[in-house]
Symmetry: C2
Subunit: 407 residues, 2 copies
């Protein structure tokens, strides 16, 4: 059984975290650097952006966790440390300083950065901040919350979630934090997500669980169609729960994977619902597909349509835009079998059956679409596969936030 519990990265035993303002950002009230630490060396896995332009921290992290282990995560916001001539050197120094302060190996540090691309990252505030981060590490709820706040960019809310579950009779915990908002259209990896668990699991199985999970979770989120240069999901598993280590597929692995999926789906919903400028969480639920690939392609195409996103902002049941997005998705769909409905806490309204419009009450539709969370239900009528994609509406504030992000 998977139970929701309080906290984020500190929910699992043996993990502590902190987040402070060190001076990368001008605004002194905004935390801009986070540290997550495991009391013991942990198994680690990560997935990264497929963008050919890769942030320097990703290249350094990939090398550091090549051995399947890590013990700390250091992450700054306000500057992506990407497209800078000395980026890798800076990321290496940031890791080394963290390792020194914690007394751990430099190659056991996961390093990440998020913010503006192409501006040199000044190490001075980071050097001054790292000892403070170490001094303020806390395994209490507050430590994780401060870290979650420190990795935010244009996010409006910090994103934390945690669950408890049982493996081999032992209670385990898995939690995470995420940074979402803009430049969110992950491909094989995603935005910044840091996950911790005290479940004992080998680094091979950890990597397997993570890479399999992101395909149906973070890779199905889109805020604006832009795949970031710095996307990363990293997970540390320190085994503090005391269960027998998971080293192969089976019941225990399935339980771990289900717990992981509960946390990642919750983070996906938080990231999409807090997309830049968003007023609504959009969830496109596709069923009746002839393959998983078809279901995913259709769900993601619908969630990415700028026209549909704008219509949802206006609570306008313009379902023709759903059909249009299905039609150009690239999936081989029999349009004459497609049904579309909109659903929310206020009810459900059927708008299209067999590829053609049906009469519906505009009043009911408006009521359904004025809610904060909207499901777009698409039935393809051609098979047994399904998929879900998450996104948000397109609003004036998205334009405002991105019209002048650097200043």
């Amino acid at each position: 059984m998977i139970t929701s519990i309080q906290g984020g990265v500190c929910a699992a035993k043996g993990f502590s975290a902190s987040g402070i303002h060190c001076g990368i950002r001008k605004n002194r009230s905004k935390r801009d650097i986070a540290l997550i630490y495991s009391a013991s060396r942990a198994n680690a896995a990560a997935v990264y952006t497929t963008n050919l332009v890769k942030g320097a921290p990703l290249i350094v992290t990939k090398a550091h966790i090549a051995d399947g282990c890590a013990q700390a995560i250091i992450c700054n916001s306000g500057n992506a440390n990407t497209c800078n001539a000395d980026g890798i050197e800076i990321a290496e120094k940031m890791s080394a300083m963290t390792a020194d302060a914690l007394g751990i190996r430099a190659d056991d540090v996961v390093v990440a950065s998020t913010g503006v691309i192409g501006q040199p990252l000044n190490l001075e505030p980071i050097a001054a901040g790292i000892p403070v981060l170490c001094d303020t590490l806390s395994s209490e709820f507050e430590g994780g919350a401060n870290a979650a706040e420190a990795i935010m960019t244009t996010d409006t809310v910090a994103k934390e979630v945690a669950v408890s579950f049982t493996v081999g009779g032992k209670e385990c915990r898995l939690g995470g934090i995420a940074k979402g908002s803009g430049m969110i259209h992950p491909n094989m990896a995603t935005m910044l997500v840091f996950l911790t668990t005290d479940c004992a699991i080998s680094s091979e199985m950890l990597a397997k669980a993570l890479s399999s999970d992101v395909r149906s979770t973070f890779n199905m989120v889109s805020v604006d169609g832009d795949t970031s240069t710095n996307d990363m999901v990293a997970i540390l598993a320190n085994g503090a729960a005391g269960n027998e280590e998971i080293t192969c597929e089976g019941e225990d692995f399935a339980e771990f994977a289900a717990a992981l999926n509960t946390v990642t789906v919750a983070l996906c919903r938080m990231i999409a619902g807090d997309g830049e400028g968003a007023t609504k969480l959009l969830e496109c639920v596709v069923d009746g597909a002839s393959s998983l690939c078809q279901a995913k392609t259709v769900a993601k195409s619908v969630i990415c349509s700028s026209l549909l996103k704008a219509a949802m902002f206006g609570a306008d049941a313009n379902w023709g835009r759903v059909l249009c997005a299905i039609g150009y998705s690239g999936a081989d769909v029999d349009i004459s079998r497609v049904d579309v409905s909109f659903r929310s806490a206020a009810g459900v309204v059927d708008v299209c059956r067999g590829g053609a419009g049906i009469p519906f009450s505009e009043e009911t539709a408006k009521k359904v679409l004025l809610e904060r969370e909207i499901e777009i239900l698409v039935s393809l009528g051609s098979g047994e596969y399904g998929a879900t994609a998450w996104g948000c509406d397109l609003t004036y504030d998205y334009v405002k936030i991105n019209g002048d992000y650097r200043t």
Copy 2:
């Protein structure tokens, strides 16, 4: 020599046009139906959307010009006649009524519709309007201008262009009108564009010239990444210029293709610059690519980035977003060789060399980006190929227009 001349679809000899308000739209001051007519039967070619959801008029048009001939184009705005159970029947009737009124064959009519998807199209106002359209046909500038206005949806300006050129010692003319604005991300075909020419050219060579041209023109335009269900480019060539018919490749065909390209590029710029809510025309000019495909993929990815589009709206030289869009484009680019500059009537500002940022004057950059037409210059440093893509900025008005389009 290709010379710009006044007019649109009536610039070529033997063509007349009209545009009136017939009642499909509630606003009586907005023309909503257009007719283009050739005094003699013309050779015809067209390309269509690749969206699996295809407007009923496209299916009917495709059948009508299967024989390579047509004599009239009828097009309404305000309703797309798409995703309606009786769509094809309606489009056939619209053709038949036009043919009857003009005394031509029903299968010599090109039929098109644009507007809201999924609402039944009422034939009554169309039936009443067609005789008026026929009575008001004019070969003067005004006829073409009225037709250009009648096919507009959220366009803010009518789009017309025409050129004269010489084939086999005879002066020929080629002109066109376009409807752009939203749901603009053509694939193999595009928005509504109607072209007329008095140049004599066989229907085979006409089709060849058109399908080759759209690959580097309309297919390189994006306003919002949404490929419409009703995109169509159609061309009629009536031979009234009296040149010897072009029936194969060679000097004459090259001259015709160049004239066609002059008109289509001009229409692309008009469509992109008048994208929904746009305040700026964006032109991404890529050179130094290792293949044409690489150049096109990069140019189109840059022009489609919501983040870059919003930055351009804010006149913010956020070049990291250009690199980001190159990186996720799918093209195999050596990022360390990429240079980026912004150019406009106010000057040029170099922002990135060899994949990394270089110091530049923010003041100059602002001045460059405050212009109405912005070029984003990308050099890939890997070869001799180039491509251009056209788009527009992402603005508050895009959201406003699309947040409540149906009402």
